[in-house]
Assembly symmetry: none
Homo-oligomer: 277 residues x 2
Amino acid sequence: MSEKPVSSAGLRRDMEILEVLAGHGDGPDADGFGVNWIAQRLGREKSQVSRALRALEAEGMVERDPVTRRYRLGWRLFSLAARTQQSRLVRVAEPFLRHLATLFDEDTHLCVLRGEMVLTLSSVPSSRAYHRIWEGVSVPVIMAAAGRSLLADWEDEQIRELLRAALPSGLDSAIGGEEQWLADIEHVRTAGYAVTDVELEDSAAGVSAPVREHRGLIAAAISVSVTRTPAESRMREMGAVVAETARRLSTALGLPPGAPGSGADRSPDPAGSAGGR
Amino acid sequence: MSEKPVSSAGLRRDMEILEVLAGHGDGPDADGFGVNWIAQRLGREKSQVSRALRALEAEGMVERDPVTRRYRLGWRLFSLAARTQQSRLVRVAEPFLRHLATLFDEDTHLCVLRGEMVLTLSSVPSSRAYHRIWEGVSVPVIMAAAGRSLLADWEDEQIRELLRAALPSGLDSAIGGEEQWLADIEHVRTAGYAVTDVELEDSAAGVSAPVREHRGLIAAAISVSVTRTPAESRMREMGAVVAETARRLSTALGLPPGAPGSGADRSPDPAGSAGGR
DNA sequence: ACTTATTTTGCGCTGAATGCAACCAACCGC
DNA sequence: GCGGTTGGTTGCATTCAGCGCAAAATAAGT
């Protein structure tokens, strides 16, 4: 009659504490929070919070600045998440891919970037008959429909470098020149998806959108290949849907609500003058 | 003298469970883990694990596949992890790592010191095929390529202490003796980077350089592992580039242009942070 | 259907978390 | 130096929540 004894009290308390520590935005955001502040915010006993925090620290869930005595989230959370993110990606993405595959009735793929190659992790085929199996196959990033989405966070300079290295011959016209690429990528940054016309023979055209993991980095891309190219407007429609799906997948992977385009901080050029090769 | 009332029992149990869920590599890696398997692996009561998992699920720390009934880490954990200090560091460092990875076409890592272990925060793989995933994994500081860079600000005496504690057997020759270490570290202080020959099997050799945060303290290290060892001179070239990149990253983190060697204040007693005991 | 494998639940008992208050330690202005 | 204020830890009796055992429920084979 009272309530459900669903979750244990101690755990709930710990989670509340972690949530407070995670919550940037209110209070002295500067760095970390003191015991008293947390206790007051949760309406709990100081002693309780103090002890809980010491336990959490012993486990590495939080860490304490030795000088300011303030707590913040610890390395253990990061470590746990980082080790699992990889395997989690495919599993969590599957229903999203299937949704798109049935919605458009086109082959839908999940791709990741490895070096300068795009690796297809999983595919959901359309209802139409045989398809080429892409799972486990790598193709050069400039050839893949998902390429533009996967590179969206790269510095323009790095992209140019990659393109110049990967476009030895006069293929420029075939897959679009450097400027076309940069324009496409800018489109990914603003609109959230990419539209490609002609690249690999098998997947003539397609739309793709970047998927971000918990840290906000682009971890993968959803790519829908289109066999018979529809009208331009239709492609854009599809792109918007794919982008939205990719965004929801990102959230399911733990990406916090903020910074969808990751416009947060385009960090300064790491290359600089270090040209030596 | 029986035991230490360090950490609470329930929390420790929960952490052990999470650690099992994060640890893919043994057991039915495929998808999550069942209650029984976890209980057996931890040597705990099934009932205990069952209840703990339900509580963790209610908090979103783990999630259960409704059909296979297996557990795996949940969105809440990832969401929290995204807001750690380490995540911020990773996000800022990523383009710098990528720059090095493409420049050398070698795996590039960002590592931090945690107690006497080196935790790899993020890795950017080279174009060459499959590599071991190091993200979220810790290795002893004496085994890591980044170790020398991370310890560069320590007092010689403390380094000796650490080495003596960490070198129980006759490994000295394998990874270089005390004096070799101190010489290497002195090299980091003067030249800004470290070169290591043979440590972990997987990352045979590499170069690394320390990254400093706004106060000038070493917060992390960039480490480029080299699979096929190139000539000595080439390694030194790479070292210089890595050091320069690390310095740019430091600046991006808020380090003022001055005091690159941070000879400013060799902090008197960092020993307080010593881990287990 | 039966048998096995896996997970959940009921329930006394014990140990660990709770809350209060006292205690400790900085920090601040004077 | 002193009293005051803020921030954090510790001692201790009470009490409640988690523990383990075993039995019930559920799923999965055969």
